[in-house]
């Protein structure tokens, strides 16, 4: 049956154009567009809106289907829909594609009005703070004064944290899932390897691959393969693939392909067909540069003291990209700042990726928390 009863069904992306935005890097974007989806209905006092912030490779397409023939729904369909944790019967869900993205919002593939050519590698550096400001402009356009909740996993959680600090009057709850207050040296190192894979691909052409009618498929594929390993846990890879062979046999050493190799090749290849290399570079840099404590004298407690919203912080036991200890840093700073916080550590075997998966305890916690959020806005 299509659509499934707990799906938002067929959704149509929308698009809005905005005026100038002064980016943190000092560059002024004269104008930009954001593409976004919405699910559910805004209530009469416009208090039931929630903002979904996507992670590194996400998009505005968080739930539902674009066409009946779609093989898969949006990236967070597990959590968003009627009766699901982010219940579209109760909330008005806004899900934009971030500025600098490659799914329709202004980004490296857009035309630079200054010269009529694609921005390519010259798209200015955008930061998590810039994203928050652009998302607030979208909220203005939708006449949403304050979000009942800003929700995100991983890099999305960082945007929710930045919302809490930068726009404390416009956010009632921040849900930070599999998040960290800033990247560790190891995190940055992984990102840099991914970037080098792209930058050293001969088809990257100094970032002008669109003009050259080429694409750094190889670099993107390597970047994605590396990323994927860091999103999973040793156990979950073991469970999923073990040492099983897809072809060949080890005794003769001929044509040996492990299942895990073939899986990574597939993931990498499909990613390289759908994701823009310059966007990947830009998004990983935004991750690396994220450090909301910095402008508060490197004091996370001081930064979070500015917040007025309540927080839900969720971590996953086998996440080693943003390990539970990283969430604890946020929680401890929130307690020191005397902010309201619920902190939950979910036992889950799938590493960082757990935040995208239907882990029962995780969904139960989200449901419970968002039920409270919905009640607060009269839904």
């Amino acid at each position: 049956m299509f659509p499934p009863p707990d799906s938002v069904g067929i959704v149509t992306p929308q698009r809005r154009r905005f005026g100038a935005l002064d980016l943190q890097c000092g560059v002024r974007l004269p104008a930009f567009e954001l593409v976004y989806e919405t699910y559910g209905e805004l209530n009469a006092d416009r208090s039931n809106a929630v903002l979904i912030c996507h992670a590194l490779s996400g998009s505005h397409h968080a739930a539902g289907y674009h066409a009946e023939t779609d093989r898969r729904p949006g990236w967070w369909d597990v959590c968003i829909g009627p009766g699901k944790p982010i219940d579209t019967n109760r909330f008005f869900v806004v899900s934009p594609n971030n500025l600098g993205g490659c799914h329709g919002s202004t980004g490296p593939r857009s035309t630079n009005p200054a010269n009529g050519e694609p921005y390519g590698p010259n798209f200015p550096n955008v930061t998590v703070k810039d994203w928050v400001r652009s998302q607030a402009m979208l909220a203005d356009a939708l006449r949403i004064d304050a979000f009942a909740a800003v929700i995100g996993g991983s890099l999305g959680g960082m945007q929710a944290m930045q919302w809490a600090i930068d726009l404390p009057e416009r956010i009632r709850h921040a849900l930070l899932i599999a998040c960290a207050p800033k990247l560790s040296a190891q995190n940055i190192a992984f990102n840099e390897i991914a970037r080098q894979a792209i930058l050293t691909d001969p088809d990257y052409r100094d970032g002008e691959y669109v003009k050259a009618e080429a694409n750094p498929d190889r670099g993107l594929m390597l970047a994605r393969m590396l990323g994927h390993v860091t999103y999973l846990s040793d156990d979950s890879m073991g469970d999923k693939f073990g040492r099983e062979l897809r072809s060949g046999d080890i005794a003769s050493g001929h044509d040996v392909t492990f299942q895990v190799e073939s899986y990574l090749h597939y993931q990498g290849r499909s990613f390289s067909k759908t994701f823009d290399a310059n966007t990947y570079l830009l998004m990983t840099r935004a991750l690396d540069y994220f450090d909301p404590a910095h402008e508060y004298g490197d004091d996370l407690v001081a930064a979070l003291s500015v917040a007025r919203c309540a927080f839900l912080v969720v971590s996953f036991s086998t996440d080693w990209r943003f390990a539970p200890e990283r969430s604890d840093e946020i929680v401890d700073a929130l307690v020191a700042a005397r902010r309201d916080v619920v902190s939950v550590g979910v036992e889950a075997s799938h590493g960082h990726d757990s935040f995208l998966l239907p882990v029962p305890r995780y969904l139960a916690v989200l449901s419970e928390y968002l039920d409270r959020v919905a009640r607060e806005c009269g839904q």
Partner: protein
């Protein structure tokens, strides 16, 4: 609210910063938030308890008490509470120290192993006591460090902790002349309010 929690609630100063160890379903914190304007955080490690806390709208951090309180800075709370939990932790003496490191004072409650019903069962039948305030069989009890009021007070003396208030009750949370005269024999539960003794 459970009578035990009502007694504690009365002991909490308005506006206090409170940490509740083993906060359960959060009903004490919810009460303190509503009626005493406290800034409170609960610690618990049960999934159902955490869910109940979320429902009650209280702050809760999922954590095993046996992992200690190292995450909290010195003197970050006015009051640290622990109801009916001391006897179930791995190192109650160390936890008491920690409670008075992160908090100015603490309130601890626990069941009395020297209540006369327990003494009688051990003395007359040679059996591990099972009573209303200690309802578990020896093999299925979460209580791994049971003690008596006298034991606890000895520990406090050894650790140089000052008992600023003691409140002993029976199963129905009543006080009485007999309990006041022989608390360690007739009391089932004690509420202790502690501070570090300053030199």
């Amino acid at each position: 609210m459970r009578e035990e929690l009502r007694i504690i609630a009365d002991l909490v100063a308005p506006g206090a910063r409170v940490l509740d160890l083993g906060c359960g379903n959060g009903e004490l914190l919810a009460h303190l938030q509503q009626h005493k304007d406290v800034v409170g955080y609960g610690l618990d490690n049960g999934a159902e308890e955490i869910a109940a806390c979320i429902r009650a709208g209280v702050n809760v951090i999922e954590q095993d008490l046996d992992d200690g309180l190292a995450r909290f800075a010195d003197a970050s709370f006015d009051l640290v509470l622990m109801t009916d939990t001391l006897q179930a932790v791995r190192a109650p003496d160390e936890l008491l120290d920690e409670m008075l490191r992160v908090g100015e004072e603490c309130i601890v409650t626990f069941p009395n192993f020297a209540h006369w019903t327990c003494r009688l069962q051990l003395a007359s039948r040679g059996r591990m006591p099972v009573a209303k305030h200690l309802p578990y069989t020896w093999y299925a009890t979460p209580n791994i460090h049971l003690c008596t009021f006298t034991d606890f007070e000895t520990l406090c003396r050894d650790k140089d902790l000052t008992i600023t208030e003691r409140f002993v009750v029976d199963q129905a949370y009543r006080q009485g002349a007999l309990i006041n005269r022989f608390p360690n024999l007739f009391g089932t539960t004690a509420f202790y309010r502690l501070r570090r003794t300053h030199a």
